[in-house]
């Protein structure tokens, strides 16, 4: 890239704009491949996706994938970003040199209205007709020359999922780049359109469509047929529940072989180091701190990959808006918006992307209510804790011949999370905050066969983020815990386990009276303190606490240890605690950023801690009265 002429030292920047579901992200992936960066826009938490590519003529182009919108008249933080970047008034964001409006060629009506609005901005503009192959397949004939002439904008067909599908677009970008060097942007005449102006641009878009587009000869029978089943009031809901249930069973059972493999790998590594190194503080740090700690987190990678595979598949297939449709009344009963379903479903993986996904909700109160309950959905970081306790305390047998009892308990914990989220939302939205109800207004896009490349890239991005977290935050926490539980060491001639004398032991003993009423011992308390940083750390911390206290490093041994040293009532109480407890500093951090206030994370922490304590208290005492103490 050193050969670039001084004039082009800053690569030309293009911005992709389009309606939601137009295949914009697929086109972005096709253009940039793996050369993309995901971050946030300065000052707001809207996801910023930027990448670069090189055109056939060797130009390096920066490309920005803007959030989808129907209009520049922004109504949500996401759409505000799109508007401000397009208008070149977003602070810290360079003005785009070229706007590429991405359109679903099978559904042009609304996007042409957006094109007409974008034209008023006065920036160089290009219309990419994406999914052109599907449009042709359905018998839609588009007179590109006519469309381009009527709109006064170059029009290029693209097929994002095919290798050569962006060749035309690249050629046009090369041509446009030459013009950019010489031409200047026109005057910006855009202003927020009134209802009558929206009607007028609709009429203009319709006029152009009538001239340039022949309607489909083959209706989209697939979507029609699938919707008959999937949106059926009864069958649709049953299918939705089945999909969710299947997802959880898959996460719990399919991941097992891979998890066993990872576990064995880490155990072998620890054993090798134990054999190769002399006994001492460094060996203890490496095996008990680093390997045991990181190993017990990385082991959950298969589950995270499976979960995200499901979520991304459902998203790409076009099922998510249908799920929102089916759930709207139920969510609405709890005072939540139907759109809250998608952020809440994402929260099953992790509350952080879930909370960030609440940006699709326009109304502030609806959004806040969704943010506040998102951490109650069972995130994947709870899985390690649930798995450990369930495996140690719930017998491994089948119920009714098909379902594993352990799977059913897991399902029950998920259900408890969902029900409590709905209940909390109900209290917030129906009792505390009564007021305007946001309309539920959502396009139901045509179903599409998910693209393997997009799926792999999506899963890979998430897995990478998870591993980075395991490699940085969690690793440093693990070392801290190891330190806290190793120093000061036991005095000579001590009879109790060494950890009893350490800082962690002291803190645990000191907090013990507070948690005794809910049946927690001091080891649990010690594990819960680092568990504040990330839920799953508690498992590793328990491992460290018990391993350092005389047990072994591997998870199976930990299960045995727990099975012997905890009562069933204590185990159940800890499960109940984990359904509610605000055991995740990152979530609180994201809430602070998203709400731009300290008040909301504090309220969240307070209410969740209260619920956790009450639930554990009730669980422990009910279990104890049943004789399980």
């Amino acid at each position: 890239m050193n050969a670039i002429a001084p004039v082009l030292q800053t690569a030309p920047r293009i911005a992709l704009v389009g309606n939601p579901n137009c295949g914009k992200t697929a086109l972005f992936n096709a253009l940039t491949g793996s050369r993309q960066k995901v971050a946030n826009y300065a000052g707001v938490t809207v996801e910023r996706k930027e990448g670069s590519f090189t055109t056939p003529e060797g130009r390096r182009i920066q490309v920005l994938d803007l959030p989808g919108t129907y209009s520049l008249r922004a109504r949500s933080p996401d759409e505000e970003v799109t508007r401000d970047v397009v208008l070149g008034r977003f602070k810290g964001e360079a003005e785009p040199d070229l706007l590429v409006c991405v359109a679903d060629a099978t559904n042009l009506r609304l996007v042409l209205r957006l094109v007409l609005e974008l034209k008023q901005v006065g920036r160089p503009l290009l219309l990419a007709l994406n999914m052109f192959d599907i449009a042709r397949h359905r018998g839609i004939e588009i007179d590109i020359g006519r469309l381009s002439a009527e709109l006064g904008v170059p029009v290029v067909p693209t097929v994002a999922v095919r290798k050569a599908g962006t060749a035309d677009l690249l050629k046009h970008i090369d041509t446009a780049a030459v013009d950019l060097a010489t031409g200047a942007a026109g005057a910006n005449t855009w202003h927020e359109p009134s209802a009558e102006e929206v009607r007028a641009t609709h009429r203009e878009a319709d006029r152009i469509i009538k001239l340039a587009v022949r309607p489909p000869t083959k209706p989209d029978t697939w979507t029609t047929w699938l919707d008959t089943v999937l949106l059926n009031p009864v069958a649709g809901l049953l299918i939705l529940l089945t999909v969710l249930f299947f997802m959880f069973q898959a996460v719990f059972t399919w991941a097992q072989p891979a998890m066993d493999g990872i576990k064995a790998g880490f155990d072998a590594l620890a054993a090798w180091i134990n054999g190769a190194m002399p006994d001492g503080i460094l060996r203890s740090l490496i095996t008990d701190g680093v390997i045991a700690g990181v190993g017990s987190i990385v082991v959950f990678l298969p589950q995270i990959v499976i979960l995200f595979t499901f979520i991304i598949l459902l998203e790409d297939f076009g099922y998510m808006p249908r799920a929102a449709f089916l759930m709207d009344k139920i969510m609405g009963g709890a005072g939540l918006h139907g759109r809250a379903f998608i952020p809440l479903l994402s929260s099953f993986a992790c509350a952080i992307p879930g909370i960030m996904a609440t940006r699709v909700i326009d109304n502030r109160r609806d959004r806040l209510a969704t943010i506040m309950v998102a951490p109650l959905m069972t995130c994947s970081a709870r899985i390690p804790v649930y798995t450990l306790i369930i495996s140690a305390f719930v017998p491994d047998r089948t119920v009714g011949g098909v379902f594993s009892l352990q799977g059913l308990v897991m399902f029950g914990l998920y259900a408890a999370g969902i029900l409590s989220a709905l209940l909390v939302a109900f209290v917030m939205r129906r009792l505390v905050w009564r007021g305007t109800v946001e309309p539920f207004l959502m396009e139901l896009p045509a179903y599409k066969v998910p693209d393997v490349k997009n799926l792999v890239m999506g899963v890979w991005t998430r897995a990478k983020a998870f591993l980075q977290r395991a490699g940085t935050t969690i690793l440093s926490i693990m070392i801290l815990i190891w330190f806290l539980s190793s120093f000061p060491g036991a005095p000579a001639g001590a009879t109790d386990p060494a950890i009893d004398y350490s800082i962690a032991g002291m803190v645990g003993h000191w907090l013990q009276p507070l948690v005794a009423p809910i049946g927690f011992n001091w080891q649990i308390t010690v594990a819960l303190i680092p568990g504040m940083a990330a839920r799953e750390v508690a498992v590793a911390a328990l491992g460290t606490v018990y391993a350092v206290g005389g047990g072994e490093e591997n998870v199976t041994a930990l299960m045995d240890t727990l099975g012997h040293s905890w009562s069933l009532a204590t185990a159940l109480s800890l499960l109940a605690w984990y359904v509610f407890a605000p055991q995740c500093a990152s979530t609180l951090g994201v809430v602070r950023r998203e709400t731009n206030s300290l008040k909301w994370p504090l309220i969240m922490f307070g209410y969740m801690l209260t619920l956790a304590y009450l639930a554990s208290f009730a669980t422990y005492h009910i279990a104890a009265s049943l004789g399980w103490a």
């Binding site: 009506r109 209205r113 009134s194 469509i209 008959t228 709207d328 109800v437 207004l441």
Partner: protein
């Protein structure tokens, strides 16, 4: 996307009540399977607990509920037959009956004022 003649629309605000056809009624009262033509979008007053009427009107317009559009109720939710999935010209939109109150429709069969919509296409659409 080709249903392009919008004869009922004028640049003036929505027509007054007297000018409406006899069978005009809000989309919110339509049942599954019903087909209609949008004749007015927007309300004079606000819905209880809802958005500002002008904002609601623009959102409905932006997602395709425009005067002259063909609408067909495709699906209904389980509880209270709400929300509804509506085919608006060529696309599908989900909304609650509550907001559908702001969309006034008339029977589709009624001839369009200018007759500009090709009959063949109109029949094709119903399949």
């Amino acid at each position: 996307m080709h249903l392009s003649s919008r004869p009922a629309v004028s640049d003036a605000p929505a027509p007054d009540q007297d000018a409406l056809p006899a069978d005009a009624r809000p989309l919110s009262r339509a049942a599954k399977g019903e087909v209609g033509r949008v004749i007015r979008v927007g309300l004079d007053g606000a819905l209880h607990d809802s958005l500002d009427p002008d904002e609601l009107e623009r959102r409905l317009l932006e997602i395709g509920f425009v005067e002259g559009a063909r609408v067909e109720i495709l699906h209904e939710g389980l509880f209270g037959r709400d929300p509804i999935a509506v085919k608006v010209d060529d696309m599908r939109v989900a909304l609650r009956r509550r907001e559908a109150e702001a969309i006034l429709i008339t029977a589709w069969q009624q001839p369009a004022a200018s007759g500009a919509t090709p009959r063949v296409i109109a029949e094709d659409r119903r399949s």
